[in-house]
């Protein structure tokens, strides 16, 4: 790896809030070190613009929500070696996938835009994997800088990064945080949510709202039941699952079930 050419890296943006790109822009001195280790060929927010260049690693922020984006993604996939999605929007559609749950996109368009005919968007905001092969998904809204750097480092070593799939609870306990569900009755999503953030919310005395998406083996049915036991109304339970990762199973289904959207399973 020493005197070979530096790996080429691109950071692309789709529909998003730009927050995950900050995982790079907030790196501080590591950003400059990173720029020594790799050649950043495309990263519009930081300067270099070269969207169609061939790269070894492409990071993608944002979900696909317009025909243009679908086409752009196709080109990026064709030009990229290892493709990594960063953040909730790219991995599950993110918060804007809430629009997928109702057939209301056009209705909303009319409510917000005086001239809705100017707006050209797809009915759904969807994850990158629905349109292109993805080699690694980094979850989190926003993605964690530590995870992004670990992924870069692993790829520089020529190995796939380790995926973190455990539940937030395990990390919460490693921090010796007092469980907010047991000690305060908060409807914490930690038991079904993927680790990676460092259990920030419980450590700040509040319930996790699942910004890292579903963990492996998430038992949403049992947790939804427990939330009812804590006094949450069915719609409130549904909103717990239909939030940042409403587009990702088993959250989509758990929310639907709580809201009684699936006929037969409705309460």
């Amino acid at each position: 790896m020493t005197d070979e050419r530096k790996p080429r890296v691109a950071v692309h943006k789709f529909s998003s809030c730009d927050g995950c790109q900050l995982a790079f822009l907030n790196l501080g001195p590591d950003l400059l070190r990173l720029a020594e280790l790799v050649e950043i060929v495309h990263f519009a927010e930081a300067g270099p613009s070269n969207p169609d260049a061939d790269v070894d690693i492409a990071f993608i922020e944002g979900s696909v929500s317009t025909p243009d984006e679908r086409e752009r993604l196709r080109r990026i996939r064709a030009h990229s070696g290892f493709l990594v999605t960063i953040g909730a929007c790219a991995t599950s559609g993110g918060l804007q996938a809430l629009r997928n749950l109702r057939d209301s996109e056009s209705e909303w368009r009319e409510a917000i835009y005086a001239r809705p005919e100017y707006i050209d968007s797809l009915a759904h905001a969807t994850a990158i994997r629905e349109h292109a092969r993805v080699d690694l998904e980094l979850w989190g809204c926003p993605v964690d800088g530590r995870q992004v750097l670990a992924a870069v480092r692993a790829l520089l070593f020529g190995v796939p990064p380790v995926e973190e799939r455990d539940k937030v609870c395990l990390e919460c306990k490693r921090h010796q945080t007092v469980c907010v569900m047991v000690a305060r009755g908060e409807p914490c999503m930690g038991p079904v949510t993927r680790t990676g953030c460092g259990a920030l919310c419980p450590r700040f005395g509040r319930d996790c709202y699942a910004c890292y998406g579903p963990a492996e083996g998430a038992n949403t049915t049992s947790l939804a039941h427990r939330f009812e036991g804590l006094g949450l109304a069915p719609e409130a339970v549904a909103r717990r699952f239909h939030f940042i990762h409403s587009g990702q199973e088993p959250f989509t289904g758990a929310g639907n079930e709580a809201a009684g959207i699936i006929p037969g399973k409705a309460r």
Binding site: R153, F157, G158, V159, P160, V162
Partner: protein, 277 residues
């Protein structure tokens, strides 16, 4: 007190490409004192550390040449082992070990030795064959049985051919599915047992490979009159520390890293093959 977690540096003296993608690394510890102290028994394993990537358990073998302290034969399957496949002579690794309990080679002396392996090559068993062949006079007949899913999966055909030529040695191969021209048996490994000639009362059986294969073989051997107490097998479980602390390798009450990886069949018979253990 020595720190059981601290690896020691080893240099790759030679890299040998074996069959398929399998490769071997012949290694020497770089610290002379560590070298002098290092001794292993066939069936034991090392924790092998690739800088910045991770650590994996790999059986220790000896491979030609006096210069190396030991060798590892590795099949690239995942993160760490695939990255190890890129290593060349002169590269460095971290080594902890050897760990665990090896094969009961002394106990086996004086009787027949049956080696049963399955799947894609089996480093721990190769050491047994080498040991028996190197100390031929101390053992009776040597029977080597290897089963594969498909005849194309058989690797090291030349090695089996070589062993076949060794004195008082029988090599039997079986494939569940065979391509035309396959000279071995077609079927599960247990179909070889009728052809295998060895003293059911005094032979020592050593196995490694997929657990269903080991369960089937052990049960059949016991039915055939082999005493369960003369059957040994090598197991694999996730291992992180190799010191009996991390808990990952537990198999019922056993810690595979320190109570095994080679087990006496009666020790593990109860749970072997039970889903979830």
């Amino acid at each position: 007190m020595t720190d059981p977690y601290l690896p020691r540096e080893a240099e790759i003296l030679e890299r040998v490409d074996e069959a398929g993608s399998i490769f071997s690394l012949r290694l020497a510890l770089t610290d002379p004192r560590a070298r002098a102290d290092y001794a292993f028994a066939p069936g034991q394993f090392n924790m092998v550390y690739l800088f910045g990537v991770g650590e994996v358990p790999i059986s220790v073998v000896r491979l030609r040449g006096e210069d190396a302290d030991f060798a590892h034969t590795i099949r690239p399957v995942g993160r760490v082992t695939r990255a190890m496949a890129e290593l060349r002579a002169g590269d460095r690794l971290g080594i902890r070990g050897p760990f665990g309990r090896g094969w009961p080679l002394e106990l086996a002396e004086g009787g027949d030795v049956v080696v049963i392996t399955g799947g894609l090559g089996c480093a721990p068993a190769v050491t047994v064959v080498h040991h028996v062949l190197a100390n031929r006079e101390r053992f009776g007949r040597l029977v080597i049985m290897q089963g594969v899913k498909h005849s194309d999966d058989l690797i090291w055909a030349e090695q089996y051919a070589r062993w076949r030529e060794a004195p008082d040695t029988r090599v039997l191969l079986a494939a569940d599915q065979a391509r035309p021209g396959w000279t071995g048996q077609q079927g599960l490994i247990t179909t070889l047992f009728d052809q295998a000639e060895f003293d059911r009362g005094r032979a020592t059986v050593m196995m490694c490979g997929p657990e269903p294969m080991m369960v089937a073989s052990a049960r059949r051997l016991v039915d055939d009159g082999v005493e369960a107490g003369r059957i040994w097998l090598s197991m694999e479980r996730n291992m992180q520390c190799a010191a009996g602390h991390c808990g990952h390798c537990q198999f019922g009450p056993r810690f595979v890293c320190r109570d095994g990886p080679v087990f006496h069949y009666p020790e593990v018979a109860g749970l072997l093959g039970v889903r979830g253990f």
